[in-house]
Amino acid sequence: MAIQTLRPTTDVAVASWFAVPALGTGEGYASRLGEVTRNDATYVESVVAPSALVFAVELGLLQDPGVGFRTGYAVSYVLSTAGGALSSSFLIEIRQVGVSAAVATWTELNVPASPTLFTRTLTDPQIATIDYAKAIRLWATVSVA
């Protein structure tokens, strides 16, 4: 079974975040997350002690694989904390342009200091809510103390 992969392509909400390495002309924050080969040395970082700070990027359109193949959808992301964080909460949401309700949400608590891979799969009911004519967005709401 061939797999389609959507990666961050466009910035949606990036205020109070900065990119490592710093962005060059014409670069977006999304470029720090969307490399084909995972590179933990590139990332986006929040301001100090963020409280419900939003970071959102667009991943583009998902092609409908058709009846019988709408399964096994997965989202993966690599998170970490820095600065001696004692507690953290990353609310990760898959959203779609123009749709208020999230397709799926996960909350990652007490994320460690070392980059950690989280892989989450969508349930069939969650997959059934996807509108393939609307772009997919990854939405993170981050609190760290």
Binding site: P8, L59, A82
Partner: protein, 382 residues
């Protein structure tokens, strides 16, 4: 006490002179991606294609591309173009036209439409009297041996039926019986010629209908000529807002959303097989599908995705071809080109022609992605 450093917004390290441990805690996101299965590529015997126009028709004057140019563009942009639909608004030519229906040098499959005679009682009588037999024989005998032709007489016949016979237009003149008699006359002529070994190419008599007839609830089995080798439907994805300058026959009645349009067309696909007891499985397809620029889809992404989903319905229903109406003529531009229009078509006429500029999103210029990419993935050419 040693000076402690903590990180400020922007990654700058600064001294902490407060004497108390500051919170330097931050959150980082290093990588993200979304994965899902891809639909399997269509079977090799399913033909994806596009419309083409010919001189001699009312379309050519404004289509702005020759068949060869259009075929070349499709090969370049989409990666494949398996079947084209070519129009002769009047009679068939005497011989095969290599520069028109012959431009497909790949699969060598073409749909040829003609209105030999005319879709009127007078035209039907002329056909039944054999007035065009010599011309018709001359044409299909000239089809090269390696070519496949789906030959349509009276494309979108539903609009030419009398309203009292379930016609979708207001000026139709034929009865269903007259249409079928004229079609069957030509089909029998073809079959007899094939049986006599006079036809080198592969030629099918194909009947063509409009999805609108389904939507209006007037389509019935008894408009299919019993000598048709294949059947096809022309269908469009036109959810509101209304195409005010369009004939109403092209509206997707009842479809308030793109998904609604897909559902309607999927229902047609299912009904074709149901009504014919699968007798047309492997012998039918959509000869036209697509949508012009919409005010709610300036980028074309929704149209491409909708079309891809419509094709899923075909693949699930044993269809063998689907042609995307991908031409620009008059004020309608159905092409899917990853380009938007300036100014944005926000008022009538919706399909105004303007200056084509690269599609941008979030400050990013998109080049052949994701709109074309949706179709290339569908066609296995990504």
């Amino acid at each position: 006490m040693p000076t402690r450093l903590y990180r400020l917004h922007g990654g700058v390290w600064a001294p902490n002179n407060t004497g108390s441990p500051p919170s330097a805690a931050t959150g980082r996101i290093h990588h993200a991606m979304f994965t899902a299965p891809v639909a399997p590529p269509p079977p090799e015997d399913f033909h994806w294609g596009f419309q083409q126009f010919t001189t001699g028709s009312s379309y050519m004057a404004t289509s702005q591309e020759t068949p060869a140019q259009q075929y070349a563009r499709h090969q370049l942009v989409y990666g494949r173009d398996d079947v084209q639909k070519v129009f002769y608004s009047g009679v068939l030519p005497n011989t095969w036209r290599a520069d028109r229906e012959g431009v497909n040098t790949g699969t060598k499959h073409v749909i040829v439409c003609h209105n030999t005679g005319s879709p009127t009682p007078t035209g039907v009588n002329q056909i039944l009297a054999g007035q065009y037999d010599t011309l018709l024989r001359s044409y299909w005998r000239s089809v090269p041996a390696d070519r496949t032709v789906d030959l349509i007489w009276n494309n979108e016949m539903d609009a030419d039926l009398l309203p009292s016979e379930g016609g979708t237009g207001s000026s139709g003149q034929m009865t269903k019986a007259q249409y079928k008699a004229a079609f069957n006359h030509q089909a029998q002529l073809l079959h007899d010629d094939q049986a006599a070994g006079n036809v080198a190419g592969t030629v099918y008599a194909m009947a063509n209908f409009m999805n609108t007839a389904f939507q209006q609830g007037v389509w019935t089995d008894d408009r299919v000529p019993n000598k048709a080798d294949r059947i096809s439907f022309d269908t469009y994805m036109n959810p509101p807002p209304p195409i005010t300058s369009n004939p109403p026959v092209y509206e997707t009645t009842g479809a308030s959303t793109w998904a609604g349009a897909v559902a309607l067309h999927s229902a047609v696909a299912a009904r074709v097989l149901d009504e014919h007891g699968n007798s047309y499985a492997g012998r039918w397809g959509w000869a036209e599908a697509g949508s012009p620029w919409r005010v709610n889809d300036v980028s074309g992404q929704a149209r491409a995705a909708c079309y891809a989903r419509m094709c899923d319905a075909l693949l699930a229903s044993d269809a063998i071809f689907c042609c995307l109406w991908d031409s620009r003529f008059g004020q309608w531009d159905h092409r899917i080109m990853d380009y938007t229009i300036t100014p944005t078509p926000s008022a009538t006429p919706i399909f105004q022609q303007g200056v084509w500029t690269p599609y941008t999103s979030g400050g990013v210029t998109v080049n052949k992605e994701p709109t074309i990419g949706v179709l290339r993935q569908k066609w296995g050419t990504a």
